[in-house]
Symmetry: C2
Subunit: 603 residues, 2 copies
Amino acid sequence: MCGIVGVVGNSETTDILLNGLEKLEYRGYDSAGIYVNNQKGQDFLIKEVGKISELEKAVTPDVQGLTGIGHTRWATHGPATIDNAHPHFSADHRFYLVHNGVITNYNELKEEYLKDVDFKSQTDTEVAVQLISHFANEGMNGEAAFRKALGLIEGSYAFAMVDKEEADKIFVAKSKSPLLIGLGDGFNVICSDAMAMLDRTHEFVEIHDGEVVILEKNKVSISKIDGTPVERGSYTVNIDASDISKGPYAHYMLKEVDEQPSVMRRISKNYIREDGSINVDPEMLKEINKADRLYIVAAGTSYHAGLVGKNIFETLADVPVDVELGSEFGYHMPKLSQHPFFIFLSQSGETADSRQVLVKINEMNLPSLTMTNVANSTLSRESNYTMELLAGPEIAVASTKSYTSQIAVEAVLAKALGELKGVQAAKDLDLKEQLAIAANGIQTIVDEKDYIKQLSADYLDGQDHAFYIGRGIDYALSLEAALKLKEISYIHAEGFAAGELKHGTIALIEKGTPVFAYINDGVGASHTRGNIQEVEARGAHVLVIANEKYAKPGDQIIIPEIDEMISPIVSVVPAQLFSYYASLARGNDVDKPRNLAKSVTVE
Amino acid sequence: MCGIVGVVGNSETTDILLNGLEKLEYRGYDSAGIYVNNQKGQDFLIKEVGKISELEKAVTPDVQGLTGIGHTRWATHGPATIDNAHPHFSADHRFYLVHNGVITNYNELKEEYLKDVDFKSQTDTEVAVQLISHFANEGMNGEAAFRKALGLIEGSYAFAMVDKEEADKIFVAKSKSPLLIGLGDGFNVICSDAMAMLDRTHEFVEIHDGEVVILEKNKVSISKIDGTPVERGSYTVNIDASDISKGPYAHYMLKEVDEQPSVMRRISKNYIREDGSINVDPEMLKEINKADRLYIVAAGTSYHAGLVGKNIFETLADVPVDVELGSEFGYHMPKLSQHPFFIFLSQSGETADSRQVLVKINEMNLPSLTMTNVANSTLSRESNYTMELLAGPEIAVASTKSYTSQIAVEAVLAKALGELKGVQAAKDLDLKEQLAIAANGIQTIVDEKDYIKQLSADYLDGQDHAFYIGRGIDYALSLEAALKLKEISYIHAEGFAAGELKHGTIALIEKGTPVFAYINDGVGASHTRGNIQEVEARGAHVLVIANEKYAKPGDQIIIPEIDEMISPIVSVVPAQLFSYYASLARGNDVDKPRNLAKSVTVE
């Protein structure tokens, strides 16, 4: 996580940095800071603990310049303090550095080169900037010292550095962590995510791992660490800056929940032709069709969308599926099948835990597809194929429309693959119709916000624990529903297989414990009703979310009839809203919950 | 859950029932009751809410007879009240019935046959006894009415019934729920588990699903529901009644934790020959060797032992493994491999969620093995092969030595299979030595109880939430460690993949939140250290349990060096003890935590 911005050659440097950091706040907001240099010998360093608004308050009108770098932090080493905030600087105040990533050998580097240096912070980043200064003090120029340090540093990084002796340049490098160059008219910028600079430019240039960039007002020089020059063209990002505003909503999250019907329609329109046939890359389908097993790799909410996808692919495309956590899979790869195919799910396309898996499977020459919301993201670039989620920018840290769009896009691919293989279930599914039903189903629920807000208060006010239970497709869904509640309300929620609860965890149920039970899965419905009776017998306060087909009198929320396989697209929505209202009731920052960052770019 | 006892022909009937129920209390203890008939027209019905000790207080000395049935309950329908406690009886007080299981069509039966009956309880069981009475009132004798009702009842059951008009008999039937006949000298008994009657007899007779038994003083008649007679011999249970006493320990759990070193030595002695070769059924090995994928099916703690086993089998036997929850797998069977082999893990061998899977895979003619602590249990009888855990009776509801013995027995099988296949890793592993190291390692930890008790107080006193984190083998272990804490301390603990925590759940970390981090996994060690820094930066109170190889100064618990694959055998022990002391400190009933039952014989 952490977000980086930088600009050179623009007199509005301070504004560009602060504006960009605000847009990147979803990547972390423990603390933030900027360094601004007026290229005439005057410079400013301002750092604050907390959100960007705190930093903005601390920036006085005299902070102006032509070169600058900025950073918003999600702490990995050391707590959120001003000393630990970026930019970090060398002991002689010549070098200023911002960093996103984790330097794994920082202790060793400190031990070997920096024994006499007095460190101001507990961060791995300060080791990097002191190391550069160390080599400069040995007689190298700034660029050479920067390259020398890069050759020694292990781990992940996106760096942007200003050398006061060449203040009209920014030195940039990246490995594993995301970073982009943006091309302006008479100025240039860098940023962790194009969104940060969309009000200044739509033209961007990729930086690849192991490259160094020297950014000047009218010049961008890309080279390898050893100095070999690299040529690369630019590309255009077609997102409107207004897509990333809240409009009339109090929170991005509520806006994004409400957008889900239109996202479903957009996916349908883009991926399904008038005649119901699926419109995806035929080359990709041919490649996936060779696979004897699909491996879905993801983290967090995307992992939960993968669990829903498993059932969809196995049913529609008749292919076995493993769903794996990126952080586990990369380091403990199970015995793979003969012909594996990998599907990466990532809203941002930058998830470091998934990316380290992709790097490994690329080394093994195994084929892969990324389903992502960000077309030019790292995972998208580095896998063989990409399918876009088409959800539009998602700003709230708690993911909503990305989850539902991932399920829809999985269904698109599974149907296409199943039809290619001649699977009857794929032929039988009218996905166009089902996505229309999903869109309408979501609309029905989001139109009932007052009722759902009241239920949220009735069940969650004053509660510190909650459970979501279900079987089959509802089990996968329960995991996501519980995560939503954890993320923004800080209620300790758990999703559980309804039948597994009694094997231990039921000990936590006491009088009044909220238990949300999902009944969209036909096969498991009657058994889940039995499990509801078990927890009710122990005092649980049970709320049932049931599909119309399986609903009984007294069930609190009825989900319109929809194909069970994709039913989580609709039935997750009450859970999204429960967590929204519970967070609001507790006075939490809905869009920027504590400790979290949206795009998790460290392992 | 629920436990049943019955006796006919013994003047100590009341004592036998109460004693038996005490032994079965691990199966549930929401409420309990007995019905005693002196065969001369006098009878007694006593029921109490709570543990058996409450019932014992309520039984006055005049409660004596020659026929009796008793029940200890784990509520599935309706809360724990006297009305809902068993035995249930018909409106005319002629039939008395105890039941273990769940009748799924009780609403329909009520609707069709019993519209005019005034029900005293909310249980499915009362429907059964009123239904029998209904048919008796239509003119059938007790036996015919019993058989007629059995023909209509769907779901799972073990029934024992007394008909006051034939009070020298007990009518017995079973389907899916466990029940055994015990043969006495001049009397006969029934019980859910042989342990309940070991002080009276060691001779038992199985009852199979769909059979009816009429038990008399000197006669046992087994038949099918339609009346066809069945012949069946008896078998001897070689467990000493003293094995199931607490000895000098305050709690069974602590005794069972302490027994783990000797269990490891017993497994080694029984399964590994002097020369290091593995001693298991060669026929079974040949059969497993045909498999292209192993499916481990289990629930609760056994499921967690299965997750550890996955890595062991994949490493030593080079065969891919899926680990599945019984309650999920039976109803949502994924696409199976071409040649699957099933391994069921169950301490009791009676877990209903696993058994319904076994029934299904037997119908599909797929081969299976049960690893269980109870040789003549249902899962053992109904699968093709059995490997005994040799852990000795486990009485505490929180499973400890079963978990460690399951891992050891998995390693035994994996090594045998790997050697048969010529896998180098299997040949290289000196399992005899490793199990000796495990035994000694556990001993080192259990010898440090004062230190661990102090740590438990330092980290868990006053806490309602806790996390265990780890990667790879430590992730699987973290799930079990967290479950232990939940089960008996009621602290809401969660086990997490260390790298996954930051994808949402880290929002729950606040100042002082206890986080227990496992570092036994070499590949993941440095990354887990990074994740520790992330939670510490957010205020977590971190305790590290590290293997000697990867330990750093300041780590709180050091695990002696042991092969990583089987390291959870040792590193789970501190977690077992943390939960024990946390439970004690909260004044909970360590051996019989609220809401739980040891042997989960309902779905």
